[in-house]
């Protein structure tokens, strides 16, 4: 059993296998299931992600509150106009992350990765990669095991809950997980995956959880968008050979401690940050009416 990223990388290197192999093997041991059972279960989750993205980029979904929806469609159209500055692949990932979160906000069916509020980053980057490098279905399923391996370490050593650790614990974790998985899909080493995760998460540290009206919409949808963007850049940096000076496990530990130091107002209580801005308050009053007490 790996308890941290250092052990995860060490097992993969020692046995000359991928991070996803380490995760699959551990899953088989813990749950006493066969390779095929574990793989098929993940394949089902992949299908849920694909359906959510397809819905989000093709349909103009709208949340019950009306705060979010339709931005994934806008971005897809913009990509097709050929004017994009960031690049088509980059924005494709961003739009697919948005698509997932828009479907989530509309009470649609999604797969939490690691949470529902941060469900866009991992599938968003994955399905943009599908479009760009056309990986096999098996490689796509492995992407989720690699993400999951890094996510497990964060969940057990820090937190993946916005109420406990702020948005850095949710979108931050998801961004690190995606960065690590991109590296493996692009044939980087386990060590490079760890550096990608560290670089990505470092740049999400301190991010607070301040949802307007307590809804998983503003700013959650756009934070997933930027998380997807951050993950791609972090992965590219790691694949270029850039290393994080602070080891991944220490970044995770720092994230945990920052979360503990965060005021309660900034941890999913809708009491501070963007939720407490004049416009945030106004939107809240409009959605819930004046009777909704805070």
């Amino acid at each position: 059993m790996f308890r941290n990223v250092a052990e995860l990388v060490e097992i993969a290197e020692k046995e000359n296998i991928l991070i996803s192999d380490v995760m699959i093997r551990q899953e088989m041991e813990v749950t006493e299931k066969s390779y095929d059972e574990v793989f098929e279960q993940m394949d089902k989750n992949l299908l849920v992600m694909e359906e959510a993205i397809e819905r989000g980029i093709n349909e103009k979904v709208t949340s019950v509150s009306g705060l979010t929806g339709g931005d994934a469609v806008l971005l897809q159209k913009y990509i097709q106009s050929g004017k994009s500055l960031a690049g088509d692949f980059h924005l494709d990932a961003v739009s697919k992350a948005i698509a997932t979160n828009e479907v989530n906000a509309a009470m649609g069916t999604i797969c939490a990765t690691p949470t529902a509020g941060s469900a866009g980053v991992v599938p968003g980057t994955l399905f943009a990669l599908k479009h760009k490098v056309n990986p096999s279905r098996g490689k796509m399923v492995r992407y989720l095991f690699t993400s999951g391996a890094f996510g497990l370490v964060v969940a057990n050593n820090a937190s993946i809950s916005g109420a406990a650790g702020g948005c850095q614990a949710e979108v931050g974790s998801a961004t690190g997980m995606a960065a690590a998985a991109i590296v493996e899909l692009m044939d980087g080493t386990p060590k490079q995956s760890a550096h990608a995760m560290a670089i990505a998460l470092k740049n999400m540290l301190g991010l607070v959880c301040d949802p307007v009206a307590g809804l998983v919409e503003v700013p959650c949808v756009k934070r997933n968008a930027m998380g997807a963007s951050n993950a791609i850049v972090a992965a590219d940096m790691a694949l270029a050979g850039i290393e994080s000076r602070i080891p991944c496990d220490e970044v995770i530990d720092a994230m945990y401690k920052i979360g503990q130091a965060m005021s309660l107002d900034l941890r999913e209580t809708a009491g501070g940050g963007l939720a407490a801005t004049p416009t945030g308050k106004e939107l809240e009053a409009k959605i819930f009416g004046a009777s909704h007490k805070k």
Partner: protein, 221 residues
């Protein structure tokens, strides 16, 4: 290790918008329903911390009631659970509490069918849809709801734990995690036994027939 499987991280498949405030709430409700063993006639829900502040926005109430109606996290009916509960004649009361809980996402649920048949539990949603039941009828415990489990209310006497585990051994059931909690020495105690597979009613009846056993219930995957 709080999180054991990769599907705690890549999963659950669920109706949005929040894994802790929607899927987790549905799971807490479903464990309560399972422990009661039938559809409740009335339910009193108290929300604490982040649950109290944001339950309307996250649909925590809707999801929790969905769980009480035995809906899973991905069940489309969750969205309409309040209406469905009303149609079924289940009386629902919701309170926002000011007290600061140990965990920010805490819900206390009282539910029942009549005066004698009630249950009170406290559940926390620890992130990514994962939950723990931390209190049941005043007993402190730690129950994930992710594994089949047997709950035994018994008199706090010597030999009771051995007798129960002997029955499990006879049926070749392996114990994954076990804990015993009591409110007072020599009075009522609660045994929580997490096991690897579902058990049948014959085994439960056998446990129930042992001396000093008051009540036996099970929850399963």
């Amino acid at each position: 290790m709080k999180y054991r499987t990769v599907f705690d991280i890549i999963g659950p498949v669920m109706i949005g918008p929040s894994s802790s405030h929607t899927a987790g709430a549905a799971r807490i409700g479903r464990v309560a329903r399972t422990l009661l063993g039938k559809q409740p006639k009335w339910v009193e829900i108290s929300f604490y911390g982040s649950f109290a502040k944001t339950y309307k926005g996250h649909g925590t109430d809707v999801a929790l009631v969905g769980g009480l109606l035995d809906f899973d996290t991905f069940d489309q009916r969750i969205k309409d659970s309040l209406k469905i509960a009303e149609d079924l004649g289940v009386e629902i009361k919701i309170q926002e509490e000011d007290a600061v809980p140990e965990h920010p996402n805490t819900a206390k649920i009282r539910l029942g069918t009549c005066e004698e048949d009630t249950l009170e539990l406290v559940g926390i949603s620890i992130g990514g849809g994962k939950i723990e039941i931390v209190e049941l009828n005043g007993f402190l415990l730690r129950l994930s709801g992710n594994h089949p489990a047997i709950l035994v209310v018994h008199d706090d006497r010597y030999g009771v734990i051995a007798a129960v585990s002997n029955v499990l051994a006879k049926h070749e059931i392996n114990i994954g995690h076990m804990e015993v909690s009591r409110k007072e020495k020599g009075k009522e105690a609660l045994m929580v036994i997490e096991i690897d597979q579902n058990v049948d009613d014959i085994l439960l009846a056998e446990v129930a027939s042992l001396p000093n056993i008051c009540k036996v219930t099970k929850i399963h995957d």
